[in-house]
C-alpha cells in the first residue's frame, strides 16, 4: 500500500455535499479488471460535456469549462475539498483508485460515507474530517482568485494553510500506523492465523452448521 506521511499541495474546492461514488467514477468504467486507468475518468459526468465510454480516447472529449477540476489554476492539485457525506453510495474501490490516480493525496470534508472512508485507507488516500466551520473557512480561502496550498501532516494530525489556518483531525491508531508505514494489511492479519484457527475450532462446537464444508 502507498504510504502517507505528509503532503503539501494545491486545493481544489468542490463545493457540493453528498458526492456519490457514481459521480466520482461512473459505472461504465467499473468493467475494467485492472486497478489502474481510472484517473482520466474521475468525475467523468461533470468533467466532460459528452458522454464517456471505456476505451475511448478521452483526451479528445469536450471539456466542461465550468467544472472546477478543469480550471487551469488548479493543475497539479493534490488536495480535494468537499462538503458533507463525501463518497456515499456504492462500495466501489474504483472511487479512491480514481482520486489517487488523478493525483489527489487527501480529501478534506466534514463527513465521509463509511465504505468510501474505509476503502481510502486501504489505498493510501487520506480522508481528513474537519468540522463544518473549518471546512467553511477553507472554502472561503480556497474559493478566491488565487488557489491556496495546504499541508496535511499525518504524524501530528494537523492541517495547516494560509492566513494562519490550522486544524487538527482524528484518526484511529491502527489506520495511522498502516498509512505511515504503508503496511500490507493481509500480511498483518495472517500473523493472527493461530487466533483464527482457534476461533474456528471453538465455533465448530458452538455453531457447527456454520462451518460444514
Amino acid at each position: 500500500m502507498q504510504q502517507f506521511v505528509q503532503e503539501t499541495g494545491l486545493v481544489v474546492p468542490l463545493d457540493r455535499s453528498n458526492i456519490d461514488t457514481d459521480q466520482i467514477i461512473p459505472k461504465q468504467y467499473l468493467k475494467s479488471i485492472q486497478r489502474t486507468g481510472f484517473g482520466i475518468n474521475l468525475f467523468d459526468d461533470w468533467r466532460y460535456l459528452d458522454p464517456g465510454e471505456p476505451g475511448m480516447d478521452h483526451s479528445t472529449r469536450r471539456i466542461n469549462p465550468d467544472f472546477v477540476l478543469n480550471d487551469g489554476r488548479y493543475a497539479g492539485a493534490t488536495m480535494l475539498l468537499a462538503r458533507d457525506n463525501f463518497g456515499c453510495g456504492s462500495s466501489r474501490e474504483h472511487a479512491p483508485w480514481a482520486i489517487l490516480e488523478y493525483g489527489f493525496k487527501a480529501v478534506i470534508a466534514p463527513s465521509f460515507a463509511d465504505i468510501f472512508f474505509n476503502n481510502s485507507f486501504k489505498n493510501g488516500l487520506l480522508p481528513v474530517v474537519l468540522t463544518e466551520a473549518e471546512v467553511d473557512t477553507l472554502f472561503g480561502l480556497a474559493g478566491t482568485e488565487t488557489p491556496i496550498e495546504l499541508t496535511v501532516d499525518l504524524g501530528s494530525q494537523q492541517v495547516t494553510g494560509p492566513e494562519g489556518f490550522s486544524a487538527s483531525f482524528e484518526i484511529d491508531p491502527f489506520r495511522k500506523t498502516c498509512l505511515l508505514e504503508g503496511l500490507d494489511e493481509i500480511g498483518l492479519s495472517l500473523k493472527d492465523a493461530d487466533a483464527i484457527h482457534a476461533y474456528e475450532a471453538r465455533r465448530r462446537v458452538e455453531a457447527p452448521w456454520l462451518l460444514r464444508d
Binding site: 457540493r16 453528498n18 468493467k31 471505456p54 462500495s91
Partner: protein
C-alpha cells in the same frame, strides 16, 4: 451488566481478536462475490501466492453486467467486449480457485443479494460480506451483513476475517399498523426522508416496531437493502418465526440435527429488553403514504400526494443550492404536484424489489390494463432465475407481457445500467431500485424511486398516481 443489542451479540460472537489499537479481527461466515468488485482482489491474491482460507464460505455469481435478453446464448454472445471479459474473468477465477459459482444462465444465478437468501446461504446469526454496498439486505435475517471494498474482498478471501471497528448502535422504530397499500419500500423511503442520507453514518441500524415486524421477510429485505442509503453499512431485523420459516428447507440451510441446534441458537438473535442504543429514532408508520423520490439522492423524497419542494423556502444556503441543482437536473419545477410527473420508462427490478412478492404486487396492479402509449419502455427484470421461473409458473409473465411490459432475464439491469438497459438523457423513470443519483440509470437519466405497485400504476397511467386508489 446492561443488556446487549442484536448488533452487539453478532459482533461478540464473531470477534477473533481485539487489538490494542482499537481495531479488531472479525470472522466472516459467508462471502458473496460478483464480477465487478472481485477481479483485482483475485489478482492480488494470486500475485501474493495466497489461496482462499475457507473455500466453502464463498459463493459467487454474475449480475451487474449480464445482458437481460437471451442469456441462454451464453457468455460468448455478450456484445460488449468489456462486460464479456469481466464475466469471463470471474468464471476463470472461480474455476482456478475452486469457488462455487452460479454462472450466467444457471437457474440459480441472479442478483447476489437475491440469491443469498434464496439459497439459504444467508442465515441468521452469520456475518455476511460482499463487495457491494447493498449487502445490508441480508441483515433482514438477523445477520451482520455489510458491503466491503475490493481490498477487503482480497482480505476476506485470504484470511476469512475482516479488520473492523465496532459501529454505533442505532434503532429505528417504525410504529404501526402501516396504512392500506403501503409497502416496505415506502417505509424505507420515508425513513430516509426523515433521517437523511447520512442519518445512519457510522451506525448499525436495527429496524424494529410493528411497522417492521408486520412485514414479510422479503419486505424486511427491502428495508435493510436501503440502510446504506440512510448512511449505515448495516441494517438489521431481529429473528422471529417468519425468519425461521423462510430459511427452512433451502439448499444451503442446515438440516436434521444441525437445524434443531441452529433454531435453538437463533432464539437469542434479538436485542435484550434493557439494551441501550446510541441513537433512537421513531417513525410514525401509520402516517406513511406511498413515496416518490423527486431529487438526486434518496432523501429527496415525499408522499405521492405531495409536491416538489420550493428551494426558496429553505433557509440554509447549502441545502437550498442542493435542491436547486437537483430540480434543474430532474427537469422539475418548484411546487409541482408529484402526480404531474410524467414517465418515459418504468423499471421493476433490482436487489431492492425483484423478488416474487414484488412481482406479484406489480402484476396485481397491471392485470388487464395497458402501459400508457406515452411510456417508451416498461420492463420487469426478476432478481434470479428461480424468481423468474416461479413467476412464470404463476402466470405473472403473461400478465406483464399482455400489459405491454418486457419480461427479461435476471440481473441488475437498469438499476445501474452497466449492461445495455439504460435511460436516455432527460428521460424520467419510475424505478423500484435504490439510487436516484445523477446518471445512475444512464447519462442524463432522471430516476424516481418507488415501490413495485407504484411503478406498475405509473406505467399504466403514464404519470405518478396514488396506487391505493387502484387496489
Amino acid at each position: 451488566m446492561a443488556g446487549r443489542t442484536l448488533y452487539d451479540k453478532l459482533w461478540d460472537s464473531h470477534l477473533v481478536t481485539q487489538r490494542d489499537d482499537g481495531s479488531a479481527l472479525i470472522y466472516i461466515d459467508r462471502h458473496l462475490l460478483h464480477e465487478v468488485t472481485s477481479p483485482q482482489a483475485f489478482e492480488g491474491l494470486s500475485l501474493a501466492g495466497r489461496t482462499p482460507w475457507r473455500l466453502a464460505a464463498n459463493l459467487a455469481t454474475v449480475d451487474h453486467n449480464v445482458p437481460t435478453e437471451n442469456q441462454a446464448a451464453g457468455v460468448s454472445a455478450i456484445e460488449d467486449p468489456t462486460s464479456r471479459l469481466q464475466i469471463e474473468t470471474l468464471d476463470e477465477n472461480c474455476d482456478a480457485f475452486q469457488i462455487t459459482q452460479f454462472k450466467m444462465g444457471d437457474l440459480r444465478a441472479g442478483i447476489v443479494h437475491v440469491i443469498g437468501p434464496e439459497q439459504g446461504a444467508t442465515l441468521p446469526g452469520m456475518t455476511v460480506v460482499c463487495g457491494d454496498s447493498h449487502t445490508a439486505t441480508h441483515g433482514a435475517f438477523g445477520a451482520l451483513a455489510h458491503g466491503i471494498g475490493t481490498s477487503e474482498v482480497e482480505h476476506v478471501l485470504a484470511t476469512q476475517c475482516l479488520v473492523a471497528k465496532k459501529m454505533k448502535n442505532m434503532r429505528i422504530t417504525v410504529t404501526g399498523p402501516l396504512g392500506f397499500g403501503v409497502t416496505a419500500k415506502d417505509v424505507i423511503l420515508a425513513v430516509i426522508g426523515q433521517i437523511g442520507t447520512a442519518g445512519g453514518t457510522g451506525c448499525a441500524i436495527e429496524f424494529a416496531g410493528e411497522g417492521i415486524e408486520s412485514l414479510s421477510m422479503e419486505g424486511r429485505m427491502t428495508v435493510c437493502n436501503m440502510a446504506i442509503e440512510a448512511g449505515a453499512r448495516v441494517g438489521l431485523v431481529a429473528v422471529d418465526q417468519k425468519t425461521i420459516d423462510y430459511v427452512k428447507g433451502r439448499p444451503y440451510a442446515p438440516s436434521g440435527q444441525d437445524w434443531d441446534l441452529a433454531v435453538a441458537a437463533w432464539a437469542d438473535l434479538q436485542s435484550d429488553a434493557d439494551a441501550v442504543f446510541d441513537h433512537e429514532v421513531t417513525v410514525d408508520g401509520t402516517l406513511i403514504e406511498p413515496q416518490v423520490s423527486w431529487g438526486t439522492n434518496p432523501e429527496m423524497v415525499t408522499g405521492v400526494s405531495g409536491h416538489v419542494p420550493d428551494p426558496q423556502m429553505m433557509d440554509d444556503p447549502i441545502h437550498r443550492g442542493a435542491i436547486e441543482r437537483a430540480l434543474k437536473y430532474m427537469g422539475l419545477k418548484a411546487n409541482q404536484p408529484i402526480d404531474s410527473i410524467r414517465l418515459d420508462r418504468v423499471f421493476i427490478g433490482s436487489c431492492t424489489n425483484s423478488r416474487i412478492e414484488d412481482l406479484r404486487e406489480a402484476a396485481k396492479v397491471v392485470d388487464g390494463k395497458r402501459v400508457a402509449d406515452s411510456v417508451i419502455q416498461a420492463m420487469v427484470v426478476p432478481g434470479s432465475g428461480l424468481v423468474k421461473e416461479q413467476a412464470e409458473s404463476e402466470g405473472l409473465d403473461v400478465i406483464f407481457r399482455e400489459a405491454g411490459f418486457e419480461w427479461r432475464d435476471p440481473g441488475c439491469s437498469m438499476c445501474l445500467a452497466m449492461n445495455a438497459d439504460r435511460l436516455g438523457p432527460g428521460e424520467h423513470c419510475a424505478s423500484t431500485s435504490n439510487r436516484n443519483f445523477e446518471g445512475r440509470q444512464g447519462a442524463g437519466g432522471r430516476t424516481h424511486l418507488v415501490s413495485p405497485a407504484m411503478a406498475a400504476a405509473a406505467a399504466v397511467a403514464g404519470h405518478f398516481v396514488d396506487v391505493r386508489e387502484w387496489l
